[in-house]
Amino acid sequence: MNRHQASVLIRHEVGLHARPSVKLTKLAKAFESRIDLGLSPDGPWVDAKSIVKVMATKVPKDSTIYFRAEGSDAKAALEALVTLVDGDFQDGR
């Protein structure tokens, strides 16, 4: 089974807020794998492709978020998501 987990620190000035969340869920949706986001390594988990769920976690600045992914492109998905968050969501528009 192709399962992966990763964590990354949110440094964005206002946390995982509207604009970052739009970018994050858009990127997550580009992958086939099921991708979850959590505030601890043991969850609870929410669907990282749902902006409603991601925003509902109200992740503040300077908190670590956890991803877990399961599927054919799980590893690539996590790498891309961690790069996005680590780069402070500064990727192309």
Binding site: E13, V14, G15, H17, A18, R19, S21, V22, T25, K26, D47, S50, I51, V52, K53, M55, A56, K58, P60
Partner: protein, 536 residues
């Protein structure tokens, strides 16, 4: 065509809020409609919501592609992303399956989401509640079968009321505004005057036909619907004359003197850099009031210290050494800010607003004070605190500003203590003005008038009470006299200062510094030049 030509013209009397003439079709700004469709089958209700969601999404995508503004685009793309997410409407579809009508199901699904954002501890998350409300209402409009409205330029907009953020987001070129609510001293009216948008209030807009030809006379406070050809020609002519006149008034440049040769300071009130375009700083004695609440409104996130610093710095740069008085956030009252002001106040004008709000949101206030202390190094900055009622509030602000400066110095940044003054708009402060440790005073006549008269400036029926009275002039005279004796400056930055007919009465009270909307510079300077009264 013939039919239209023969329809009799209708003349509707309202009250003038901003002068000028506008000619164009009426556009009725819709309130959120009630869904009055008869209840249909579960399948039909389901389809109605599917369709409303799809058309809302298309409309938002179109809006997002047309806006040239990154901030607006970000807000819209967030709303689009929410609509694209099936999780948003899933509870609504479940309710519909259980027999609920689509509109109620949609509201029941969205309202708890809105509440959860409203209750968030982080103000940036709280501010998202307004996006969800916007989205909720847009879908409701589609469910009721009404199309979205975007406001084209060159039209006369008729609405019940309009929030300042919406006014700012509209292209008013050659347009005008007709409101049922609001008053000549509401903030939308202030904006309308400052941007030269003709506006009248107190008009029953419910019976105005959408799309009808209309003439708006902001000077007389009159709206004419279905004008005949001769009326239209007359207004076209007046419109042309007025633009010439306005240009002539603007050319009343240089310092202002009374007929006896006494120098009077005339400064301007602004909300941001945009209004300074095309204005020569040499024509004014500085910026008497920069309102900062507009930096905070209609945004996705509150402005950062750095962003504020850059804007303040550029205002000071524009002024070329002339004084620039920046007022700290004056939110609350009729200037709500998503995520910051309290929406549930029974009487917002007597509630947590101005400095009262700032002292309860120290994170937001500190960021602004830091930005101001840094900007003070780059020019002739003065900082003004709004809604001060008792001396302790101002003392607290001074201490916070000093703290911010110490903190900045520790961080190795340049900062300076600017003169710290206060708005005089609460009668209690005006009456005990000698108790306040302020470096300067600025009289906010709009609020002072409504607090002295206990008459809301937004209640059309009380417009006659909410006018400058002898009681108000008495308080102004009291403050000016004390300040003169104590060697401190006093200016007046409310609408009273920009009314040429009140200039003489204010000069009589000893006032020698006016701060007015840029559009009023010419007329006010002309009125000062005519004054030959009581100069000592």
């Amino acid at each position: 065509m013939d039919d239209r030509a023969h329809r009799p013209a209708r003349r509707i009397q309202g009250r003038s809020a901003a002068p000028g003439i506008a000619i164009g079709p009426l556009v009725r700004l819709a309130v959120v409609p009630q869904d009055t469709r008869p209840h249909r089958s579960v399948a039909e209700e389901h389809q109605a919501l599917v369709d409303a969601l799809a058309t809302s999404q298309e409309a938002l995508a179109l809006l997002a592609s047309e806006t040239g503004d990154a901030e607006a685009e970000a807000i819209l793309s967030f709303q689009i992303a929410l609509l694209e997410d099936d999780n948003l409407a899933a509870p609504a579809f479940a309710l519909i399956a259980g027999g609920e009508v689509a509109s109620r199901a949609w509201m029941m699904a969205i309202d708890p989401e809105i509440t959860s954002y409203e209750e968030a501890s982080d103000s940036n998350f709280r501010a998202r509640a307004s996006d969800l409300r916007d989205l909720r209402d847009r879908v409701l409009r589609h469910l009721a079968g009404e199309a979205d409205q975007s406001l084209p330029s060159g039209v006369i907009v008729a609405a019940d009321d309009m929030p300042p953020s919406m006014f700012l987001a509209t292209d008013w070129r050659d347009g005008g505004l007709v409101l049922r609510r609001g008053s000549p001293s509401s903030h939308v009216a202030i904006l309308a005057r400052s941007r030269g948008v003709p506006m009248i209030v107190g008009v029953d807009v419910n019976h105005l036909g959408d799309g009808k030809d209309a003439l708006l006379d902001g000077d007389a406070g009159v709206l004419i619907v279905d004008p005949d050809a001769s009326m239209r020609d007359l207004y076209r002519q007046r419109h042309a004359e007025q633009s010439n006149l306005r240009q002539a008034a603007m050319s009343f440049g240089g310092p202002a003197f009374t007929a006896r040769g006494e120098r009077v300071g005339v400064m301007i009130n602004v909300t941001g850099l945009a209004e300074l375009g095309g204005l020569d700083p040499a024509e004014v004695d500085g910026i008497g009031l920069m309102r900062t609440e507009f930096l905070f409104q209609g945004r996705e996130i509150l402005p950062t210290e750095e962003e504020q610093y850059q804007i303040y710095r550029r205002m000071l740069e524009w002024a070329e050494g002339r004084p620039v008085t920046i007022r700290t956030l004056d939110a609350g009252g009729d200037k709500p800010i998503a995520g910051l002001t309290q929406s549930s106040e029974l009487n917002p004008f007597l509630g947590v607003r101005g400095v009262r709000l700032s002292l309860r949101h120290l994170d937001v206030f500190r960021a602004q004070l830091r930005a101001l202390a840094r900007a003070a190094v780059t020019g002739n900055l003065k900082v003004m605190i709004p809604m001060v009622t008792v001396p302790e509030e101002l003392d607290r602000c001074r201490a916070l500003l000093e703290e911010a400066i110490e903190e900045l110095c520790r961080e190795g940044r340049q900062a300076r203590m600017p003169p710290l003054g206060m708005m005089v708009e609460v009668p209690a402060a005006a009456l005990t003005i000698e108790d306040f440790d302020a470096d300067f005073f600025s009289i906010g006549s709009n609020d002072l008038i409504q607090y002295v008269a206990a008459a809301s400036r937004d209640e059309p029926q009380l417009a006659d009470l909410a006018r400058p009275s002898r009681a108000v002039f008495g308080l102004i005279g009291h403050v000016v006299k004390y300040a003169d004796g104590a060697g401190r400056e006093t200016s007046l930055c409310g609408d009273l200062a920009g009314d040429p007919e009140q200039v003489a009465a204010l000069l009589d009270q000893g006032l020698r510094t006016f701060s007015v909307a840029p559009g009023a510079l010419g007329p006010v300077k002309a009125a000062i030049a005519r004054y030959s009264g009581a100069a000592a």
